[in-house]
């Protein structure tokens, strides 16, 4: 119980820091637009500090040497920084940093209170598995349409943009609808936007195939209690894999031996299988 709290606490603390940081920067930007400046707070638009903008502008940057409108150098470099973290530890950005992922997670606490047993297990497995690939369609659509139009086509449908700009009058009605839908679905499903629609999550998810640090399970010490499966917000069946390469893993560490797993050194974020060093068994009890 104590272990579980520590992971949760640490991750929640990091999530809150980044959520507040983004919120303050966006507020600062809104105030600057109104001619008010806050000391020590340099405002920027949400687009300017979102790494997704860096991804969608790649085509224009390569072909014309410029950025898509509303995108600047910051989002481009931020994209590179986030890619570095993803190569090291997978889509850790999604599980620890993304303010919209955090927002959905916080909404999920209400859903878990309402549906303590059924929460996050309401969609038939087969349908759910198919829907998980929808976000790659969204990613493709966003990349193509942005390349064609040189505009941020997704911002009109982006619930994240709607959440952080609802007071500005710049949010399209479709953005508000998307946000309302995500909030509603979050009462039944954990991180619905991340699972089914996030284009950036789709892209970062690919790094699960080749990341340096992976979630690894030691089958020798695993007691197959299934607690890791229950803890995973993305419904990944951790208990039957030795290395998690699922494209939906967000590296939240909720399944690990520091959190849900009751056996020490059995599930870890590691470069090699827990309990082994240089391919040889080590005695964890020593």
């Amino acid at each position: 119980m104590k272990k579980r709290s520590s992971v949760k606490l640490i991750r929640t603390a990091v999530q809150i820091v980044f959520f507040l940081l983004v919120f303050l920067v966006v507020i600062g930007h809104s105030l600057e637009e109104s001619g008010i400046s806050i000391p020590f707070l340099k405002g920027a638009s949400l687009h300017a500090i979102c790494p997704v903008g860096g991804v969608v502008t790649i085509y224009q940057y390569i072909t014309a040497g410029t950025f898509v409108q509303k995108i600047h150098e910051a989002s481009f470099y931020l994209m590179i920084i986030v890619f570095i973290t993803a190569i090291i530890a997978g889509p850790i950005f999604c599980g620890w940093v993304c303010p919209f992922g955090s927002f959905q997670e916080w909404i999920s606490y209400i859903g878990k209170k309402i549906f303590p047993r059924k929460y996050n297990h309401m969609i038939p497995k087969r349908l759910d598995s198919g829907l998980r690939y929808l976000r790659y369609g969204v990613l493709l659509w966003v990349l193509v349409m942005t390349a064609v139009s040189a505009k941020l086509v997704f911002s009109d449908f982006d619930p994240y943009y709607a959440l952080f700009n609802f007071w500005t009058g710049e949010v399209a009605i479709t953005g508000f609808i998307a946000l309302a839908l995500v909030i509603f679905l979050s009462l039944f499903v954990e991180r619905p936007f991340c699972k089914y629609a996030c284009p950036y999550g789709a892209l970062l998810g690919i790094t699960n195939l080749f990341r340096i640090f992976s979630i690894r399970r030691n089958p020798n010490t695993c007691i197959s209690c299934g607690k890791c499966d229950s803890a995973c917000p993305m419904n990944i069946e951790v208990s039957n894999k030795s290395k998690i390469m699922d494209h939906q893993c967000i590296s939240c560490l909720e399944c690990t031996s520091e959190a849900a797993c009751p056996i020490a050194a059995t599930l870890e974020l590691n470069t090699s299988q827990p309990g082994k060093k240089d391919g040889k068994e080590v005695n964890n009890e020593a």
Partner: protein
């Protein structure tokens, strides 16, 4: 090698916030447009700033600096009130707000500024289908002699009167609809001329009020009726207004 939650958190914060800090220190953390448009790389206008790269965040001063189109001309073209706000301070994206109540299909926004600047400089520009220009902008382009007859007709067909929209606001806009320009060639102050016509032809609210000496009421009121109500000779207003219009 194992990564604990603490190390993961620490590493993540160091990489992301440290990375941002390094970018800031090295001057690479740029979160807004540099206000320097890209240069045209080929053709007749090679080397000149590209109007197509004007962003919504550009102020009229930025545009003046990059394209040598005076901010006052831009303000006049888009019928913006410069009595309380310097023309240089308006941003291209402000137009979307000012012209948000158009009741015809299309919009006056950043792309309209790109179109106007390009035409003003004698360049061609493929505007978005929905982009419109206010009548004063068309008048300025016509008077500058940069439009061929064919281009003038096509621009005129997609022009709107600014008289009924928000930035020129008074409480008389209700019930007044945006109309396509039809009398751009006839800028003569007559008995039937309304304040809306004057605005339509490119006079600013400030210019009108300087002549009549006080704020006008409804835009749909004729100048002559206003003069009669105020006990002033209509011809006094007419002459002063016509002088300004003739100077366009």
């Amino acid at each position: 090698m194992k990564l604990s939650a603490k190390r993961t958190a620490l590493g993540l914060v160091v990489i992301i916030l440290g990375g941002i800090l390094m970018l800031m220190v090295s001057g690479l953390w740029i979160t807004e447009s540099t206000k320097i448009p890209v240069r045209i790389s080929e053709g007749e206008f090679a080397g000149m700033a590209d109007p197509g790269d004007i962003r919504g965040s550009y102020t009229f001063e930025d545009i003046e600096n990059s394209f040598s189109v005076p901010a006052t001309i831009l303000a006049q073209a888009f019928a913006l009130d410069t009595s309380d706000k310097d023309a240089k301070l308006y941003k291209a994206k402000d137009l979307e707000t000012f012209y948000e109540n158009l009741d015809i299909e299309g919009e006056v926004g950043t792309d309209s500024v790109r179109l106007f600047v390009a035409l003003y400089l004698g360049m061609s520009y493929e505007a978005e289908e929905t982009s419109l220009l206010p009548n004063p902008a068309v008048n300025i382009l016509r008077d500058k002699g940069v439009l061929s007859d064919e281009l003038f007709q096509s621009i005129k067909a997609k022009s709107v009167s600014p008289a009924a929209v928000a930035n020129l606001s008074d409480d008389s806009t209700e019930g007044v609809s945006i109309t396509h320009s039809s009398n751009l060639d006839d800028m003569l102050v007559k008995g039937k001329t309304t304040f809306a016509n004057l605005l339509d032809w490119g006079m600013s609210k400030t210019q009108i009020e300087e002549i009549i000496g006080k704020p006008y009421g409804s835009k749909s009121q004729t100048v002559r009726d206003f003069a009669l109500e105020s006990g002033i000779e209509f011809s006094e207003f007419k002459t002063a207004m016509q002088e300004i219009l003739d100077a366009f």
